[in-house]
């Protein structure tokens, strides 16, 4: 019995790793390309000075780069190093996994081919990332990256560029994937050993049901392309706004993604970011 449970935990663990690794690979390759082929000057020209506009632009930029919540962390780090303002980069990281064609389409399907959930999910994600972006702009004065010595380098030949790009990608893969493994392991342990069904029975009041759904999305660590189907299965026992809390919060923060953030940002900043996101999502979905 107990060995069986252990094996089941391992199977869930491997499955999360297998599902996420291809996206991490994609993320580190895109990050390598940005590092070598996009110069700081190009970014400075491209990103508007106005915070509101830069967040808006970054949010929609996330929609064209196909990266889930794990693959997007190395890209975000690279963008910050390249001089993208922090609010815009974080907004990119938060909305990218939600406002993206594949995720919105799976939301459309999961809620019985209805557009309303798709619009609510995308709209609320945008509002949350706006609020979080402005709070960060006020609260954060120094760069929150762990490893932020970045010096612009110049390459002479295209061969040199590609070789440097690949080296960056591989280095990043190794620094990020160990956090993915630890995060996946924790998520698998929670799924096998913690009785999430009791969690669900607690959530009846307006605030508690939102908190329960947010907690659930945090511990389940689902991929944002699949979470809509899981949310839909709670349709009969939870209100629409608490389902939206699940759908907006999960892609922004979950166990495995917290560890990925720790690989990149200082832990004090990760704690602050988690707090701001949690409060904002709760407030926004409660008002909804």
């Amino acid at each position: 019995m107990t060995t069986q449970t252990l094996l089941q935990m391992n199977t869930i663990f491997i499955s999360i790793v297998i599902e996420a690794l291809p996206f991490i690979l994609m993320g580190v390759i895109i990050s390598g390309i940005i590092q070598i082929f996009v110069s700081d000057e190009m970014i400075a020209k491209f990103i508007p000075k106005n915070t509101f506009l830069s967040i808006l632009l970054a949010s929609f930029l996330g929609s064209i780069i196909p990266a889930c919540e794990c693959g997007i962390v190395p890209i975000t780090r690279r963008l910050i190093l390249k001089g993208v303002p922090l609010p815009a980069a974080i907004a990119f990281m938060m909305t990218g996994p939600i406002i993206n064609p594949i995720v919105l389409f799976s939301t459309f399907l999961a809620f019985g081919n209805s557009w309303s959930m798709v619009f609510y999910r995308g709209g609320l994600a945008l509002i949350v990332s706006m609020i979080v972006g402005f709070v960060l702009k006020l609260a954060i004065k120094e760069p929150p990256l762990k490893n932020n010595h970045h010096k612009p380098v110049h390459y002479h030949s295209i061969k040199e560029r590609i070789s440097a790009m690949l080296e960056h990608s591989i280095n990043e893969f190794f620094s990020v994937s160990k956090y993915l493994v630890i995060g996946s392991l924790l998520a698998a342990i929670v799924q096998t050993y913690v009785k999430t069904s009791t969690l669900v029975t607690i959530g009846n009041g307006p605030v508690s049901s939102h908190l329960v759904m947010m907690g659930l999305s945090y511990v389940l660590s689902l991929c944002s392309q699949a979470d809509a189907f899981v949310a839909a299965s709670f349709r009969s026992s939870f209100s629409t706004s608490s389902l939206l809390a699940f759908l907006v919060f999960g892609p922004m923060l979950d166990i495995k993604n917290t560890f990925m953030l720790l690989s990149t940002f200082k832990s004090k900043f990760v704690l602050l970011l988690c707090t701001i996101i949690t409060i904002t999502v709760l407030a926004v979905t409660l008002v909804f």
Partner: protein, 281 residues
Amino acid sequence: MLRILVLIGFTYLFMHLHASGNISKYINMKYSYISESAIYIFIFFTLICIFFYIKRDNPHDHALCGPDCGHNHDNEDNTWWKRSFTFFVLILPITTGLFLPTATLDSNIVAKKGLFFSAYKEGDAYSQHQFLQPDTTSYYGKNDYSELMDKGVKKLQKQKTITLGENNLLNDLETLYNYPGQFIDKQVTITGFAYKEKEMNQNQIFLLRFGIIHCIADSGVYGMLLDLPKDVQTKNDEWLQVSGNLETIYYQPFKKTIPVLKVTSWKKVAEPKDPYAYRSY
């Protein structure tokens, strides 16, 4: 050197899972192309790493590498214990993935995850209609949602007996749960494992199957309440194939009306090769 080993390990793990077909026990095969392309990237990364490794050992090349060469010198794993920690963490999924047997989710996980059927709410306008007037398909043809569901309903109503297998279980069950009134007395055959909760009646069990959307981390249980003949005894996790007629019941623990299958014939079956059901779009 350790990096090359890790990359070879991941390449091998992914190739092994694909070659042995075990990958279907981890992810929905609809998305297998994603992990398949990962194999090529891993092979590529491994080759690149080997190339860098050989190049770095060449003293001539190293001398050329000045402080501004653009190579990444700020590797954060600078002490031996940090390097070995990274190595052991990364090697963990490779070893457990290759050497431990793949487990199948069973009733033990059901107890942890709980049962949730996406049944309609009591008092929902749609469902009320169906109970009063079983054949009112024309009532809800305008809304997007019901249009799709109508297709599902019509498809199932045409069939003499509805057989719920691994490919259609998730989608067809949704239809049955949304419109139970449309299918009263319909003959249904379903395969799954038995699951009984303490508060259930003597002759009632759930026949369940894990449904996978992407990977088994997002799986949930799907299935049906059965009304078994008096003489049938089942144990949890025993695989059964049952047929019977569909009815509805107000199920107190869920506080919902759900379909129930009055079982007429049943047999024990071996666990299928593919124990999971997959969501198809």
